[in-house]
Subunit: 654 residues, 2 copies
Amino acid sequence: MLDSIKRLVVGRPLRSDRLGEQALSKRIALPIFASDPLSSVAYATQEILLVLTLGGLAYLFLAPWIGLAVVALLAVVVISYRQVVRAYPSGGGSYEVASRNLGQSAGLVVAAALLVDYVMTVAVSVAAGVDNIISAFPGLNPHRVAINLGFVVVLAAMNLRGVRESGRTFAVPTYLFVVGVLAMITVGLGELVLGTPPVAESAGWAVSPEAGHVGLTGLALALLALRAFSSGCTALTGVEAISNVVPAFRPPRAENAARTMTAMGLLSIVMFAGITALALVAHVRYTADTCDLVGFPGNCETDAQRTVIAQLAAAVFGGTDSFMFFFIQAATALILILAANTAFNGFPLLSSILAEHRFLPRQLHNRGDRLAYSNGIVLLALVAGGLIYVYAGSVTRLIQLYILGVFTAFTLAQAGMVRHWNRLLSTETDRAVRRRHHRSRIINAVGAVFTGLVLAVVLATKFTQGAYLVVIAVPVLFALMRGIRRYYDRVARELAPDPAGMVLPARIHAVVLVSRLHKPALRALAYAQATRPDTLTALTVGITPDEVRTLQVEWNRLAVPVRLTIVDSPYRDIAGPVLDYLSELQHEHPGDLVVVYIPEYVAGHWWENLLHNQSALRLKTRLLFRRQVMVTNVPWQLESAHSDRDRPLTPVGG
Amino acid sequence: MLDSIKRLVVGRPLRSDRLGEQALSKRIALPIFASDPLSSVAYATQEILLVLTLGGLAYLFLAPWIGLAVVALLAVVVISYRQVVRAYPSGGGSYEVASRNLGQSAGLVVAAALLVDYVMTVAVSVAAGVDNIISAFPGLNPHRVAINLGFVVVLAAMNLRGVRESGRTFAVPTYLFVVGVLAMITVGLGELVLGTPPVAESAGWAVSPEAGHVGLTGLALALLALRAFSSGCTALTGVEAISNVVPAFRPPRAENAARTMTAMGLLSIVMFAGITALALVAHVRYTADTCDLVGFPGNCETDAQRTVIAQLAAAVFGGTDSFMFFFIQAATALILILAANTAFNGFPLLSSILAEHRFLPRQLHNRGDRLAYSNGIVLLALVAGGLIYVYAGSVTRLIQLYILGVFTAFTLAQAGMVRHWNRLLSTETDRAVRRRHHRSRIINAVGAVFTGLVLAVVLATKFTQGAYLVVIAVPVLFALMRGIRRYYDRVARELAPDPAGMVLPARIHAVVLVSRLHKPALRALAYAQATRPDTLTALTVGITPDEVRTLQVEWNRLAVPVRLTIVDSPYRDIAGPVLDYLSELQHEHPGDLVVVYIPEYVAGHWWENLLHNQSALRLKTRLLFRRQVMVTNVPWQLESAHSDRDRPLTPVGG
C-alpha cells in the first residue's frame, strides 16, 4: 500500500547508470537555477518602497539612488561569482571556496549560512508567490497558509521525481515571466514617452499623518536609506545558486555555468531597474500596515494590499480585469513558487556534500529511487513548511530572516577567492597569466569588500526585526555539524580494523530460548545443534509452575536430546532472568562466544501479531548491548505468511 | 525515563508469590464490588421520573408501582445470583455458568454482553458522578468531558497499582454514601411524619403544555410504564459483579461472597425504595430537556439541572449551602466514580479468563508488575473514555446502551443454572438434597423468566434510543472471539511437534553481509567462521564503483581468508540484491540451511542512531519471511553504549 503511494508520487526507480543523463543544457538550467534571482525582482522594489514609506512619502526621492546601488552590487556579485564557477567547478560553490582557502571553520560557517538561506528561499519565494495569487484573487486571503503549504508539498513531490523532469516542467514559467515583465516595462515606459504615463491604483493614497515622520536629516536619513538598501538587496538572493550546482550542467560544465550566470545577471539588472523605474513613474504606494493608508479601499484587517508588480501590471495594461494583468500575475506567482525549486535543487546537493564530508548524517548522501537526494528534499520541505506556518506566510516578516545568510556566504566566498588568487600568484611566473590573476583578484576583492559592507549594514538594520534568529541558527548549525563530524571520526577510529584481521573466539556456547515445545522450538534446537557448538543449552523462563511442568512432561515425552535449564522469574519478566543467566555463563567462560537462538513466529498479517506476545522483541533489543553475544532469529513462517511477501518490495522494471 | 514514570504511576513490581496476599475480607470486598449496584440507586429513580415526565406530570402516580416492581426484581436477581456464587466459586460468574450448562456459544454471548457492560459501567458511573459534582458546582459544566476523562485516567492508574491498595482507598466513600443516603431518607421521612415534608426546588416547575401528552390510556399507558420500568432497571446493574470475582475473596470464598451479596442486595433495596419515596414526597421534577420546564431558573443551553439526589439533599437538609448537601453530593460523586472501579476489577479478570480460553489475545492474561491484568485495565480505560468522549458525558444518552447487556447475561446465566440443577437432579438420589435442588431450581427458573421478560421489554423500549448499538456490538464481539479462538487453534495445530522431534538440516551455508571492512565486519566473519559452516561467503552490495574498489583494496591489504562476493545494485537498493542472491543459493542447495550474519552498530543514545543507516533493519524484516533462513545479528557496541544499559530495566528490589 505505502509502496504504491510512493510509486505514484515518486515514479519508477531509476538505475544508477542513468545519472549522467540528468545533466542540463543551458536553456533548461537557466530557468531552473535562475528562477530564484530572477524572481526576486518581484519583491525587491516593493521592499525598498515599503521602508521608504515608513519614513514618509517624501523620502521616495531616495528610491532611484537605492535602486542604482542595488544594480551596481548585483553586477559586482555576478562578476565575482563567474570567477568562482570557473575556479571551482565541482559544485561546492561558496562552501568549497571558503573551506579550501579560509579553512574548515569558514567553510562550515558558509555551509550553515547557505543551508539557512535555502530554507528561507523556499519560505520567502512561496509566500511571495501566494501573495501574487491573492493579488489576483483576493478571496483566497483566508487560506493563505494552507495554499503556501500545499505548494511546498507539491515542490517536494516534483523534486523527489528527479531533476530532469522538474527542469522541463519549470522552464516555461520562467521564460513567461521574463517576457511578461520586459513587455510590461517596455509598454509602461512607452506610455510615459507618449505622454500618458501609467498611474497605480494606490497613487492617490496618502500615508496618514501619524505614520509619517517628516524632516529627517543627517544620520536618521542615512539610516533610512541604509534600511531601504538592505531590503533592496533581496534582489541578490539566489545569485550564487548556479555556483553550487555546476555538476548538473552539461560539459563543459564551468563555461556553461558561467555563461548562464551572465545571462541571469543581465536579465536581473534590466528587470529590477525597469520595475523600480516604472513604480516611481506610476506613483505606487506600498506600506506595511494598510490601515495607515488614507483612501485604501478595503478593510485593513482582512483585505490584502496588491503587490507592487500587480499594481504596475494593472496600471500599464488597463485594470485588474485585463488579460495581461492575469498573465503577469500568473507568471509572477509561478516563477516565485518555482524559485523555491532552486533551493530544492541546491539544499539537497549541498547537504549531500556535507554528508559526504561527514558533517551531516550520511543518509543525506543517499540517492533515492529517482536519483535525487530524497532525504534532503524531505528535510527542506519540513523546515520551510514549519517557518511558513509560524510566520503565517507573511513575506515582509519572513524576508527579515533572509538576506543575512546570503551575504555571510557572499563575503566569505569572495574573501576565499582573494586568498585563492594570492596562492596562485605566489607560484605563477608567466606574466600574462599573472596579469589575469591580478585582475581576478581585484574583482573578488571588490566583491568581498562590498558584500562585507552590505553584511554589516544588514546586520545593523535588520537585527531586531527577526535577523537575530539567523544569528542564533547559523552558530547552532555550525556547532551541530562540528559535533556530527567529531562523532563520525570517533566511530571511524573505533571501527578501524586491527592489523590482526579476524580473531576466532575460543569456544561457542549455544543457548536456545524455549517457551513451549512446539515446532519452532524444535527447529531452533536442531539448527543450533547443526552449528556444532561447544555447549548447547535449552533455556526456559518459569513464570507459573503449571507451565514449567507441562513443558517438562512434553520434553520427556518427545525425548529431546538437549538438557532443559529452567530459570525462575518471580516478577514474571522474561528478559531479566535470561540476561542474568547469560551474565553467569559469560562470567564462567570469559572470552567465549555466546549465541542466543530465539524461535519466532512470523505472521502474514500485521493484526495477527496482536495475537502473539512481543516479549522476544524486548529481549533482543537488550541482548544487542551485550558484548560477545550473537542473537540468532529462527523464524517460523505461519501459513498466512507463505505468500511471497517480499515480491512487492522488489524494484519494478528491473 | 519512561521506566521511571511507569514506576511512579504503578509502583514497585510485586513477586508472583504475593498473589495470595491480595485476597479481600468482606468488609473491604463489599465497598469494592458493591459500589456499582449501590451507586446505581443514585440515578435509577431519576431515570424513572424522567420517562414518566415525558408522558406528563399526571403519570407520576405510576412511580410507586414501578419502584415496587424494580425492588421485587432486585430481590429475585440477588437471590438467584447467591446460588451462582455457591455453585461456581471459581469466578467465571455468568460466563462460566452459561458455558458449562448451555454450551460455548451461550457462554460467549454472555461474555460479550458482560464485556460491553463493564465498559458501560465505567462510562455511566463516571458520567453520573461528574453530574453530581456539577450539581454542587454548576460552574464546572463547560469542563464536563475533561473532568470525566480525568477520572477514567485516575481509575486506570489506581487499578494498575493492584487490587488491595485500591480496596483500602475505595472502602470509605462507599460507607459514607450508604450512611449519608440512609440519614437523608430517615430525616426526610421524619419531616413528613412531623408534618413538614421536604419540598424540592423543582416542585413548582411545570412541564410546558407542548411537551405533555395527557390522557394516555390502554396500550400507550402500558408502554409508558414499561419504558419507565426499563429505565428503573438500571438499579440492577452490577448486581452480578460479585459473582465474577469470587476468587478475590478470603476463604471460604463462596460463602463470604454470598453473604456480601445479601448485604449488598438489602442495602440496595432500602436505599432505592427510600429515595423513590422521598422523591415523590418532595415533588421532584426531572426532565430530559430543561427548556420544557416552566419556572426553571437557568439558561437551558448552558445550565445543568441538579440531579434528583442533589435536589433531595437540598430539600431535606435545608438548601444547597448546608453542610449535609455537600456531604451527600461528595459521597454520591465519589461512590459513582468508584463504582466504575467494579468494572476495572471485573473486566480485566473476565478478559483474562477469556484469554486463557484463547478467545481473546493472550496478552490479556499476563499479570503486570503489580499482579493486576494491566493490558485489560488499559483497554477498558481506552474504550470507556472513547464512549464518554463521543457522548459528551451525558448520563441519559449513555444509559440507553447500558441495561441490555446486563439482562442478556442475567437471563442466560439463570437459564444455565436451571440446566445445572436438572443435571444434578438426574443423578442425585438423597431426598433431602433433591428437595434443596428442587427449591434452587425454582428460584433460578423464576429469575430466568423475570430477567428474560425484562430483557424483552428493554430491547423493545430502548432499541431506537441507542440500544441498537449494543445489539450490533455483542454479535461483533462474539464473532471476533470465535475468530481469535479459531486462529489460535489453527496455529496450535500447525505448531504441534512432530513425533520425529529434532531434524538436523543437511548442510549449513553462512553468508556474512559486509559494507565496509571495519571491526564489526571482521568480527562477524570470525564468528561465522567459528561455527564451522559448510560454506562461508562474504557478500557485499555494490552501489557505487568507488565503494566496491575501496572495499576490495582493503580486503586484499588485510588478507581476509574469506572469498568476497559482490552483487550489483543498479537501483541502489540493499535488500533486493541480497534476497536475490539467497534465492539462488537456496535454489542450488534445496533443504540446506542458510545463516545470514549481519554486523550491526549499537549506539548508546537514540539520537546517535540518526547518524547510522537503518538499511539492516529493513533487510532483517524481509529475511524473516524466508524459509530455511536464520538471521544472526552480530552487534558491535560503540563506546557510548558501554555503560550498563540494561541495569535500569532489571526489576528493582529483586
